[in-house]
Subunit: 466 residues, 2 copies
């Protein structure tokens, strides 16, 4: 790629300004109060793709938020890269823990980011990383170096389980035909330790409701005589893990893919300091499934976490009440071979089964997705690896991530193509947390690296054909 | 008492209107947003006591909400009754479960209350029951039948632990001198089964905070590797009860007063239908400490209930987060001989001790109070019993209540006098719940019965002196 660094220098201020404008729109898909903002963000993405040089850009309606589709087809004989990303963001709460308003982006310098980082909800996940692809395309088009066809599919429901994407994909297989899917919605180990995510965990997200008495009761008059949904919910949740922090749901581990000692030894090579990890989180110890390392616990092992829990009086002061209902939002991270629908079903069966007399239990499945693994010997991975080597001067480490991008396995099933996860974020970006940010260095490094992927992937694919 | 029924007939509409006006003011002491309303309510109570015929009425400032003091002294040689009540109310939430707005009182007829019941927060607890005493005084004064001296002490912080009452009482022992304290802030077994509360449970109310990582984390990237405060809090709460639903805090039961088989047999005589109890609450079974009946569990046995619990994302939709903090409000009901400060201390020590590695735990004591028992052989109890017998045509059943009125034991300690708990509410009044109400029949029956207590108590006390 000629002049990519030069092009970046010349345009980086504009690249930042454009991203900041996009970050100002609170596209919170989980909260219907922001639906107009989500729609406005789709518009903004559409315009950005047009400006970047796509021939055809459209907003595709769904039963939920629309999907922005765009393409630039040079020649049907050339390979086609399908870029996926999302323009919706996580809710910002707890808002009071943000040092600057989540939707008023600010650039701040930190020890890790002397060049500055953009602080805003969605800065990294995924507006910032998605926008790298828009700007990479702009560069390739303006410098006449786009080597292949490209398609964009940017959705607005990723943070709520991509409810309508599967329908869209199933109905538009022709339109979405591609040779590889490219996504930047993950991270890398460190600024000087590039890595490519080769595995993702699946997800099953459920909400449970425990109902005791038909109304809130005075805890003095009824305390000790009736089942208190708060206490019962706590008891039921506690019972989901045993002393070794293994999940107690019957059949939960049946299909878990156990890694070989050799694979685990490979993983253990990734640079990791438990001390730094604990200090970064201000915790005196880690906690997880017995017999596995921290890196294994959050990547190759399934987990169960209570993401939200509430019941009774949570306001100021004191209220002596036994609530009628208590609730929890529970997510299970799954590993390859675990089927999320099957896990959701056995969770439901188990949780209902352990409900004691005196309460009624409801389990409402929210959403989910399968785990995924990319073989590191395929062309696309090799091309990505070479791209990082070119811009970072180092071969990237293949890494399993603990996160989930449910639609990746959907793509493989429906579109029969592999996905490459080129993530430029860092663990410290605080995605899904207050003060989410994205390093300017990372943002620009992504825009610089992506075009090389197009170059090498096209070259390698053509070579294979000849 | 002459013409009490006649006086009631003539004035009952006004008695209702006056109470309804008082109920319109949202005097929620737990929520500082309503502080002006609480103060306005004190004003309203002051005016009501003046109109009712008190000679001296004053609003006594405290470090919190004021205490309304009033008195009518006929002759220092006559006995003196001190009436205690409170003008503050519980928060109304969950507001959406109310069938009519909590502070727009409505009169509705029900099967249990064919004469109608007043629906409003505080209708029974305690504005309605407190106001019975104001109207009873009005009757006695207007018909020149007040047989003794009377003092009123109506506070505005009962629902938040009577924070400043103890100071006021300690500083005003002279002013508050009395021969008996009369309170209507409890219930009776049924409209046709009058009862007098002879025992109250003590209370220790604490708030706990569990802190894990220093910020909310993405449950995919960290799930399974760090302690999740929601899961840990659930585990800690669950561990506070054993399989027999006994509380596991070391030393918790040490001072519990065990009742004799005979006393338990006495208690068992109170009419009670487990089926009706379960149906009224729409539960398929009760749950409590093994080896005790429902009536024992909620009166003579100590308990531990989670009144509120919250952590993580509790909004609409899904958020895959591991929260930095999780919280719970926990109240323990105590029985006579258990010291609430000692229990609070051992709870704190125990809860901090069971915190696992990876989290920090804080326990913040909210408030509390001692349990209390009234001997049924004293003059005041005998007078009260005779009063009920006169107006109900039945001897009332002495009954232990599960509720707490912490200041009752304080009164005994500071003022050296016993308290009589003449409650006219019913279990079904839903105090502390949505749709709190107070039967018009109960309200008027209270106003009719109270004057007889004054009559008999004065007569019996004078007899004793001669």
């Amino acid at each position: 790629m000629q002049n990519v660094e030069e092009y970046l220098k010349k345009n980086q201020d504009r690249f930042l300004k454009e991203l900041i404008e996009l970050l100002k729109i609170p596209s919170i898909s989980a909260d219907s109060a922001f639906s107009q903002d989500v729609l406005d963000t789709a518009e903004a993405v559409k315009n950005a793709l047009q400006k970047a040089g796509c021939d055809k850009v459209e907003i595709c309606e769904t039963d939920g938020y629309p999907i922005v589709y765009a393409e630039k087809i040079l020649d049907p004989k050339l390979p086609t890269v399908l870029v996926y990303g999302h323009y919706d963001v996580q809710p910002p709460d707890p808002v009071d823990l943000w040092n600057s308003p989540p939707f008023q982006p600010e650039i701040k310098k930190t020890d890790l980011h002397p060049e500055g980082a953009i602080y805003a909800r969605g800065a990294c996940d995924d507006k910032g990383q998605m926008y790298m692809h828009v700007k990479a395309l702009e560069f390739m088009v303006n410098t006449h170096q786009l080597p292949c066809n490209v398609k964009f599919m940017i959705e607005g429901e990723e943070e709520v389980g991509s409810r309508n994407l599967s329908v869209f994909v199933a109905n538009n297989k022709e339109k979405l035909t591609n040779d590889v899917i490219l996504i930047s919605d993950t991270g890398m180990i460190a600024k000087d330790v590039p890595s490519i995510t080769t595995g993702l965990r699946g997800l099953s997200y459920v909400e449970v409701e425990v109902t005791g008495p038909n109304r809130d009761l005075h805890s003095g008059l009824y305390g000790g005589a009736v089942a208190n949904p708060n206490n019962i919910l706590a008891k039921m949740i506690a019972s989901l893990h045993d002393e070794d922090n293994r999940i107690t749901i019957p059949g939960f581990y049946d299909k878990v893919q156990e890694l070989s000692e050799e694979e685990r030894a490979q993983m253990a090579k990734a640079p990791f300091s438990l001390e730094k990890y604990k200090n970064a989180l201000s915790i005196n110890d880690v906690r997880g499934e017995a017999g596995f390392s921290t890196n294994e616990r959050n990547s190759i092992r399934p987990t169960l976490d209570v993401n939200g829990m509430w019941g009774g009086y949570t306001g100021e002061g004191a209220k002596t009440v036994i609530p009628s209902k208590a609730y929890a939002k529970i997510s299970m991270r799954l590993v390859p071979n675990q089927d999320w629908q099957e896990i959701t079903e056995i969770f439901k069966r188990h949780f209902e089964a352990i409900a004691p007399e005196g309460v009624k239990v409801k389990v409402k499945p929210h959403h989910g997705g399968q785990g995924y693994v990319t073989p590191i010997d395929n062309t696309a991975y090799q091309a990505a690896s070479k791209a990082y080597e070119t811009t970072f001067g180092k071969v990237p480490i293949p890494q399993r991530s603990g996160g989930s991008i449910p639609i990746v396995s959907l793509f493989e099933k429906e579109l029969k193509s592999k996905t490459i996860l080129m993530g430029f974020g860092l663990d410290s970006d605080a995605i899904h947390s207050p003060n989410e940010h994205f390093g300017i260095w990372n943002y620009l490094k992504g825009i610089e690296t992506i075009p090389y992927f197009y170059k090498y992937f096209t070259e390698m694919s053509m070579d294979l054909e000849n």
